[in-house]
Symmetry: C2
Subunit: 437 residues, 2 copies
């Protein structure tokens, strides 16, 4: 790999990658060759005949015809030279083999629109920033999983094909399933709760979730990677928040250690490992704070809106110097039926949203595990108990107290890297009008 | 957790779990309490009054009414006593709090049919064998991921919603996608190849795949977890096989180290870490070997059948003492258009199937990366290039040589643990007539 070249002594090397640029000068040819690990300059001084006239020999002729994006394997003499801007090394070419010629046409450029870039995502992803995003994602996820596994969590793969809705019927994708209908899971909610009833204790899942959401915001997708965890024997949502913040500290530490310098270089962002505990603010109080800053949340229900989230995040940044804040104790009126309510005040839930750099990345809660209360709350929310009979069975045959969270992976990456849209940090974005490539 | 009790000194402890059995004897009550880590015996000697008559006090009354499956939190005096069969410890109860009463009905028993057990999967999973399966799965996957990450692979989450088929149109699930149709990905094939064109180098994905396959065998599901990897700059399928066997050695080593004893205890299976290289046998030769053992594969095409796979596995076990075998160089006639063919003999492909304990768990191959050859092979197989135009673009703009494999996670676990069906090792199985729970 190219990143390993700098550590080698001068001498014969062989590397493979794709052609980023060709400068075909009169007396010397330069090629910048890139692979997933970096870029290196190849140099080919032209041969001249006895009279000093340039000769069309190999690999000169091939280089002259090289289109950007062609994949090649080269060998030559590695030379350290601190005058070379690109990493202080170059390779004097001995041979060059073209594996695939790219067609000499570049459908996207640096200034192409996001939508155009998504049409040509495989070319867009060749940019060092893009591949770094997915290396960061890899490190982030692996750190989460390592934390979970060191703490005896079980990894689940819950089914994405369901017989009925798990959240709201409104945003449900319908599948032709032999002679009946199936639905795509909007979240693993029911199935991760099932694991609690099954006595699995502590579980996690990283997998796709699907929402037939017709909106076109920078934060929504019809298919996204959901990071989920659920644990037994909690006292309240506080236990879930503690797990959640520990996981994030672990993952941000790993990302900063492995990619911090590169992130600073390519994104101009200094990754901050958050301190614990993250600030916690009850939602009602947060709305007062936002109001005192001159912003009145324009909603009839008890929820926060995106601008309110930005405002409270600004307050938290100024007051606590923290990029994260748990907004807690959401009103029962705006939470699903399965969120546990406060003992003594049924208008509030044992729940939270996690805000990172001004945008919601996650919802967590203690779940109602008492079957009679659960059925009552379902009925109150207009959910027919008959339709969720299978789910309710999980509670009839015994279940521990439990809770958990679901977190959007792309949102975390978008906010960590100060990107404007989850489209930039999703391998292949899916939206109402985007199913391709 | 219960598994940690044995290491503690005698004294006051508190644990939570569910009631596995209650023996309500005249003078003493025994409860076996289980959590995800193990089981422990609780003992409650009945109080007697001055005349020696048993008194109905607490927790005795509660214990008498305890149904199997109820979740409880208890505290009491831990006592080491080697006469106690269950781990040499017991807890003399001081208090018992019932968190949820299970309804006193047990819909499944040890001898229930597999289908009945799947109806009540959350109760079925309470068996120690079942939870061990998913702890093994967790360890297996984490070992794979750790190997990949230590070798600079990028983890992908490719979309499961596609605009067209990625494999065969025959087994495709159709989704109502706003005002058009989408299809569920049958594999991440196209998208992991896209990563090669994007210059990602080495990638992996563990995620769901969907096949509208109406069959009811013990090896098929309509939704399954696919373990996929794809690497650039390979010379042939041999490079893919080397990666594949190294991954499996790494993962089997981890499983044996962490769960070997428990697997032997609960499943009676000695996990064997395979030696490398795994035996490799060209398919044509394998068919000759099978024939010489008296079995003629009853197929008109050039493929192997399940009995043939068992026969060649038996031969490999006898000859090499190995549980794995790569069958290589499948005929082009039975492989997809994107498998690279032998240089000089287009009737054979640079591909393999991996057989483990007599059943196929994986298909791997070098992919055809030369656009002209790829289009030719597509046409030959009746695939309309216009329908896969987006896929073909990946090759037109340059791509390295590459290859990879897809492996069914449940199949590996089924064969590792000598289970009769993937239903036993899938959290929630999905088949043509099974969408619930």
């Amino acid at each position: 790999m190219i990143k390993n070249l700098a550590a080698l002594d001068d001498g014969l090397v062989s590397v493979s990658g794709w052609v980023e640029t060709v400068r075909d000068q009169k007396k010397v040819q330069f090629v910048v060759l890139r692979d997933e690990s970096g870029a290196v300059q190849l140099v080919n001084p032209r041969t001249t005949d006895a009279e000093g006239v340039v000769v069309d020999d190999e690999p000169a002729t091939t280089i002259s015809g090289l289109s950007q994006g062609s994949f090649v394997t080269v060998s030559g003499q590695l030379k350290h030279d601190e005058r070379v801007k690109l990493g202080g090394i170059e390779i004097k070419l001995a041979s060059l083999e073209v594996v695939t010629h790219a067609i000499p046409e570049t459908p996207i450029a640096a200034d192409s629109s996001l939508d155009k870039r998504m049409d040509w995502r495989f070319l867009d992803l060749r940019q060092p920033k893009a591949s770094l995003i997915f290396r960061i994602q890899t490190t982030f996820e692996h750190a989460l999983r390592t934390y979970w596994i060191e703490h005896d969590f079980i990894e689940l793969h819950t089914p994405k094909l369901m017989a009925s809705a798990s959240e709201s019927r409104a945003e449900l994708f319908e599948v032709e399933y032999f002679d009946r209908k199936a639905y795509l899971a909007q979240s693993p909610q029911f199935f991760k709760q099932m694991a609690q009833s099954a006595g699995f204790g502590k579980i996690f899942e990283v997998g796709p979730a699907f929402r037939a959401d017709p909106s076109f915001t920078s934060r929504h997708a019809t298919e996204f990677t959901s990071v989920d965890s659920e644990i037994s024997w909690i006292g309240s949502h506080e236990d879930v928040m503690q797990l959640h913040e520990e996981l994030l500290v672990h993952a941000f530490t790993a990302v900063k250690a492995k990619h911090g310098e590169e992130i600073l270089g390519l994104f101009g962002v200094e990754v901050t490992v958050p301190t614990t505990p993250f600030p916690r603010i009850p939602l009602a109080e947060a709305k007062e704070i936002v109001k005192s800053r001159g912003y009145e949340v324009p909603r009839d229900d008890d929820d926060m809106d995106p601008e309110g989230e930005r405002q409270i995040a600004a307050y938290v940044a100024e007051t606590y110097g923290h990029e994260f804040v748990f907004l807690t104790d959401y009103a029962s009126s705006i939470r699903p039926f399965y969120h546990m309510r406060h003992e003594g005040d049924a208008s509030l839930t044992n729940s939270y949203d996690l805000i990172f750099n001004g945008t919601e990345i996650s919802t967590g809660a203690q779940r109602e595990h008492r079957i009679d209360v659960l059925v009552e709350q379902a009925v109150e929310k207009g959910v027919d108990p008959a339709e969720i009979a299978g789910y309710l069975d999980f509670f009839r045959y015994g279940v521990p107290s439990h809770g958990g969270f679901g977190m959007g992976l792309a949102r975390v990456l978008m906010l960590m890297l100060h990107q404007a849209s989850i489209r930039e940090v999703t391998y292949l974005f899916r939206g109402p009008t985007r199913l391709e490539p």
